[in-house]
């Protein structure tokens, strides 16, 4: 049955593949953004797409939980909350890396399992996800977090094996695309699997950064009173950038905004950050995490925990890349493990 779920796509056929994706919805793909960054943006032609990118600043989570969005509007006279009409626009996320796919799988666990978030659910249902393989740069450590390879959470996944892509099918929707376009997706050649394995092995051997995750949860617990937190708490600016760029951070705040007519308004949900001072503040003035060192400790324990039966970090390196105070995630975790001073 492998033949059904593995195909080959020549790189010369990418523009045609892109056109097929366009038939399935608005395509969002990585494009160059400024000098060094990439960003998932709506694109209409393959030319603008940069499949050979290291990471986008903001992860694909933005497509499912918006940075800020109205969850209800209300009317005080009519005494009613109304869910805003959710768009029915079909979407395609093209070029998602394995780490970000793993992050989306965790978000799906949080937002879809016990209490199903209707917005998340609607967006996932009408979004087609196409993953793409990548090679590690100086910040990547997804091999350590077990997220360097994605086996689910996508419709199709393209493994770059040189002149062509090995295409992995991950869902019935993905299978349909393959079967509807037999001229585009061809059977595997004699050496394709060997070539795939060679590329994967080379990729796995090219990681420069690593962290031992086994037992890290206990090490974090043992380091609860460590000076490390004070040291980095003093350096932390409390800006919350690490939370915004983290593909697995999902804290949100909820706020009611009333219009100037004092009758209508909206309840807004927006991304929030555990590094901000009022994250642990309760009514009456007590703050459960008043100091920067308590907040940074909370963040690292959250990241290192197995709360959803998986680490809360996918090793994408974003928090270290974008921290304005140059706080390095692995540097702290390595100190926690006692590997360095």
């Amino acid at each position: 049955m492998t033949a059904l779920l593995l195909k080959v796509l020549g790189k010369d056929k990418l523009p045609r593949f892109f056109d097929i994706l366009k038939n399935h919805g608005s395509v969002f793909a990585p494009v160059k953004h400024g000098e060094k960054n990439h960003s998932f943006q709506k694109v209409d032609s393959m030319e603008k797409v940069e499949l050979n990118y290291n990471r986008t600043m903001i992860s694909p989570k933005k497509m499912f939980i918006a940075p800020e969005e109205t969850i209800f509007t209300f009317d005080k006279k009519k005494e009613i909350y109304i869910e805003p009409e959710e768009s029915s626009e079909k979407l395609v996320m093209f070029g998602v890396h394995p780490c970000d796919l793993h992050a989306l799988n965790l978000l799906a666990k949080v937002f879809l399992e016990e209490f199903t978030d209707t917005l998340y659910s609607s967006r996932r249902d009408r979004t087609l996800i196409v993953g793409i393989s990548c090679s590690p740069d100086d910040f990547c450590f997804c091999k350590s977090t077990g997220t360097s390879f994605a086996s689910e959470g996508f419709e199709l996944f393209l493994h770059d094996i040189g002149e062509k892509y090995l295409v992995r099918v991950g869902s019935p929707k993905g299978l349909r695309i393959i079967s509807e376009n037999p001229d585009l997706f061809t059977e595997l050649g004699d050496n394709d699997l060997d070539q795939f394995k060679a590329v994967e092995n080379e990729r796995m051997n090219s990681f420069k950064k690593s962290i031992e995750m086994a037992g890290l949860q206990d090490m974090l617990d043992l380091s609860y009173d460590s000076q490390i937190w004070k040291e980095y708490g003093d350096r932390c600016l409390g800006c919350g950038s690490c939370n915004m760029v983290c593909p697995r951070c999902r804290c949100y705040d909820v706020q009611d905004n009333i219009d100037l007519n004092l009758t209508t308004g909206e309840r807004v949900r927006r991304w929030y950050s555990c590094m901000l001072q009022d994250h642990g503040l309760v009514a009456g003035g007590h703050n459960f995490r008043p100091s920067a060192y308590e907040r940074i400790r909370n963040r690292f324990n959250c990241k290192g925990s197995l709360r959803e039966d998986m680490p809360n970090c996918v090793g994408c390196g974003r928090c270290s890349v974008y921290c304005p105070a140059d706080i390095d995630f692995l540097e702290i975790m390595s100190k926690i493990r006692g590997e360095s001073q």
Partner: protein, 294 residues
């Protein structure tokens, strides 16, 4: 299948308001739609998100045990933006409810046990629900002791009810012990004069000196500030109540109530909990195992 947003509240009407203290009101609410009423099944220790349209929502613990009676009783301290708005409402006004959330006290696991209830300040609100549950099913539980520590008579919550238990509780095997911090409080001085083996000046932990020895059949149920939990746990340890039989309810900032918004997270990599979903009721064992909990 119609999917309902878990953050969507339902309407309820305020049917009764009583001023309890200068900052606390006793508020009874009734769901507008009878089906919301029927669906709303809860245990003592669970909480709701209570909202005022245009202002926001706040987590409020339910202070009753569920009975056929329809009203949901809440003790609301005017402490923040939302509770301040609730304090300005009148009978007949609308509020918005989501829930019930959290685990609540595992009352059915306590059947056959002696209950030692310890409350400090506003923490008495969820404890009241536990006591009601036990009194509604009196024969299914063993001896009941209620320890309640207050600053002074004016700040005492559920005054009439608790003084009723204090004076007459022995007849239904509920021994009530009271402590007060303000040594000039005339009412409490009077109570102490009448029953000095039940009412003393000091913190709630001082009341443990008045208790009969407890055995391993005791379950302790605590409601109060974290500092009270730390010292009460020490007293309970001396009495021989094991940590897995000490239950306490925690407060945290909460936006969602359903384990998504992240504000109530507590613990370390080894043991990390959402207070809203895994709690708000935890055992002393959880508190030892989860750093930063109390």
């Amino acid at each position: 299948m119609i999917k309902i947003n878990p953050l969507m509240p339902v309407k309820a009407k305020i049917t009764e308001i009583q001023k309890m203290t200068d900052i606390e009101k006793f508020v009874t609410i009734n769901f507008q739609d009878p089906t919301d009423q029927t669906k709303f099944k809860y245990m003592p220790g669970q909480f709701i998100k209570l909202g005022v349209m245009g202002v926001g929502e706040a987590p409020i613990s339910i202070c009753t045990a569920q009975t056929e009676k329809t009203g949901l009783e809440l003790c609301i301290r005017n402490a923040g933006r939302v509770t301040n708005a609730i304090h300005k409402l009148e009978v007949g006004d609308s509020v918005w409810v989501r829930g019930p959330y959290g685990n609540g006290f595992p009352m059915e696991d306590f059947v056959g046990k002696d209950l030692l209830l310890v409350a400090g300040g506003l923490g008495v609100a969820p404890i009241r629900g536990v006591l009601q549950y036990a009194l509604n099913n009196r024969e299914r539980f063993g001896k009941i002791c209620l320890l309640y520590g207050v600053r002074n008579y004016d700040l005492m919550l559920y005054r009439d009810e608790i003084l009723e238990h204090f004076k007459h509780g022995d007849s239904y095997d509920v021994k009530t012990y009271l402590s007060y911090e303000d040594e000039t409080d005339k009412v409490f001085m009077g109570l102490q004069q009448d029953m000095n083996d039940r009412c003393i000046h000091g913190l709630v932990t001082k009341l443990f000196g008045l208790l009969d020895p407890q055995d391993a059949n005791t379950v302790a149920i605590l409601g109060g500030p974290p500092i009270m939990y730390r010292f009460t746990a020490m007293e309970l340890d001396k009495l021989g109540v094991p940590p897995e039989q000490i239950f306490m309810t925690l407060e945290r900032r909460m936006r969602c109530g359903v384990g998504q918004c992240g504000h109530c997270l507590v613990g370390t990599g080894k043991s990390i909990k959402y207070v809203c979903k895994d709690g708000p009721v935890f055992t002393q064992w959880d508190a030892i195992n989860t750093k930063g909990m109390i």
